[in-house]
């Protein structure tokens, strides 16, 4: 009997294939293409306390083997999310992981987490402290350089710690690859009580239209995603895996089964499919099927036994 069950904190998943926040809307958009019930879990588009309009267009552009985006966390806010988006998600029967972000320091995270903690159908909370596209994530400024919370171990620790105090739900912290040392940030999240870390969010990038001398997205810089960033993501999962004991949810350019497997071998307990959802809405389902085939072909009974099984 093949085992695909995985644990993220207290949360049991029937398989380790998730969708990355921001690439799956609130799942409705994908119901024409896949049976949502097959997913391991659904991570929502990040919500904030109040509605956000997001950034002006153009918000995306294609890059070599990837894309840049600066959506700016457009979302309907907590209240509308709960009344209009959550019921559909819950109906799928799949664990719902709600991604949250703050527009004003720790306070919003605490309010959001408190509210979500009361909702039984919310399976887990993911702290998005690593979105490169909104100013409110700025933790502090040094020499006029704005930083994300996830770019500073101390800020990461403080935010995770303060949210940990107000919720018993499984808490996942999503980290940024735009750092010198991913390990110290992952350790900060772990020591503050995070049940798992998601890595990686997008890499900050920029693309220029040389004909008109303008940036190709309105926000000038944005987050780079897609298969082009996969080696960076795999490397960071590998680095973090050696130093932290909490589960890692690996993501960054996963397009198919083989790229998903790279993350498991590097140390991810579960994986998230992101940009691939835009190109092939069936990517998640194909990966779940492909993982089973891989395990059977290699006579492996439990997917957990390949986690971190990289040979060096």
């Amino acid at each position: 009997m093949l085992n695909l069950n995985t644990y993220i904190g207290k949360l049991k998943l029937k398989n380790p294939v998730l969708v990355a926040s921001g690439t799956f809307g609130y799942a409705e958009e994908f119901s024409d293409f896949i049976d949502l019930r097959e997913l391991g879990a659904i991570v929502t588009k990040t919500i904030t306390l109040n509605p956000r309009q997001g950034n002006p267009a153009p918000r995306t552009c294609e890059t070599p083997a990837g894309m840049l985006n600066s959506i700016g966390l457009e979302n309907p806010g907590l209240e509308v999310f709960i009344s209009e988006k959550l019921p559909f998600l819950v109906k799928t029967g799949v664990p719902v992981i709600v991604s949250i972000a703050s527009e004003s320091g720790p306070q919003d995270f605490i309010i959001l987490a408190r509210q979500l903690d009361k909702i039984k159908s919310v399976a887990a909370i993911e702290l998005n402290i690593s979105c490169p596209n909104i100013k409110s994530h700025i933790a502090y400024r040094i020499s006029h350089i704005a930083k994300l919370i996830a770019q500073d171990p101390k800020s990461t620790y403080e935010i995770v710690k303060s949210v940990r105090k107000v919720t018993h739900k499984t808490l996942i912290t999503k980290l940024s690859p735009n750092v010198t040392d991913i390990v110290e940030i992952a350790q900060a999240a772990e020591s503050a009580g995070s049940d798992a870390v998601s890595l990686i969010n997008t890499l900050t990038g920029m693309s220029i239209d040389v004909e008109n001398h303008r940036p190709r997205i309105a926000a000038i810089t944005g987050g780079l995603s897609g298969p082009g960033i996969r080696p960076v993501a795999v490397r960071m999962v590998w680095e973090a895996y050696q130093k932290v004991n909490i589960p890692i949810i690996g993501m960054g350019g996963i397009m198919d089964t083989s790229s998903a497997l790279e993350f498991f071998l590097a140390g991810a307990t579960a994986i998230s499919v992101g940009t691939a959802n835009f190109i092939n809405p069936r990517a998640t389902i194909e990966i779940i099927k492909g993982l089973k085939e891989y395990l059977i072909r290699n006579k492996i009974k439990d997917i957990n036994s390949i986690v971190g099984s990289l040979k060096i």
Binding site: G22, T23, F24, G25, E29, F30, S31, D32, F33, K45, Q53, G54, P56, A57, P58, R59, T60, C61, E62, T63, P64, A65, G66, M67, N69, I71, E74, G226, P227, G228, M255, T275, N277, F278, I279, N280, P281, R282
Partner: protein, 258 residues
């Protein structure tokens, strides 16, 4: 739940050059032709490679019983690869997507205004409008292009019984000037359907407002997913940002904040 959008492997029936850099791609499809509405589009995966990564959105040009056509111009790497796809090959298609034109408002006269590749979805629209045509109703098609070589589909429109007028930037066919000048010259009654570059649509919105004639405009924006998930393709409207791929691509011209 009834599916509205399909993902299919569609066989290339033909991929023919219409003019320099312009192609007409015909694809077999079981489910898209039956549900497609004028103004909707398909998201085509041009190859299984990871670069270029994203699908290409193309307006549905015409539909047959088990097939549909799209028109495209080679403007970059993606469309260049698409132009090389051969009959018998398969393409991964998502569609039909978007809202499409509202045909119920069509009255005595429908004025279709196409700029460049804007002719593609308007041909499909003209077909539908021609079928519903009652007694004295008129179908007028105004086509704008850079040169006469880039005037596409004029014959298709006249074959459908439309009155066709043309404007080219260099005067090599029809009026020398912009298609919006043609629009200003004709007697303005009825309703306008337009597809083309944003400056053209902006001008049409102004004409629509000035003459109190409703205009539906089909917009383009950079798209990643095309199915409403990524929130990449927004346009600023009186109701806030709206997704061109989902709430659009067709909007009432008065809804847009130009």
């Amino acid at each position: 739940m009834q599916k509205k959008v399909f993902q299919e492997k569609s066989k290339v029936i033909s991929n023919a050059r219409m003019a320099k850099d312009y192609f007409k791609l015909s694809l077999s499809s079981m489910r898209i032709p039956a549900t497609a509405k004028p103004g909707q589009f398909v998201q085509i995966r041009i190859s299984d490679k990871t670069a270029p990564l994203l699908r290409r959105p193309l307006g549905i040009h015409r539909v047959g019983p088990k097939s549909f056509e799209v028109l495209f111009k080679v403007v970059g790497e993606g469309t260049r690869i698409l132009s090389q796809r051969k009959p018998g090959e398969y393409l991964d298609i998502i569609g039909p997507v978007g809202n499409g034109f509202d045909l119920t408002v069509a009255t005595q006269a429908s004025i279709l205004v196409a700029g460049g590749m804007g002719v593609a979805p308007l041909t499909f629209l003209a077909e539908k409008l021609a079928k519903r045509k009652v007694n004295s109703s008129k179908l007028i098609v105004l086509i704008g292009a850079k040169t006469r070589n880039e005037v596409l589909c004029a014959k298709e429109f006249s074959d459908l019984g439309c009155e066709v007028k043309i404007a080219t930037d260099d005067g090599s066919r029809g009026l020398r000037g912009k298609v919006t000048q043609l629009l200003e010259r004709i007697l303005l009654t009825g309703c306008i359907y337009a597809c083309g570059p944003k400056p053209m649509l902006r001008k049409i919105a102004a004409i629509s407002k000035q003459h109190h004639i409703p205009a539906q405009v089909s917009l383009e924006e950079h798209m990643a997913c095309g199915i409403g998930a990524c929130l990449g393709c927004v346009i600023n409207t009186k109701k806030g940002f709206q997704r061109v791929c989902k709430e659009g691509p067709v909007f009432g011209s008065e809804e847009i904040i130009w």
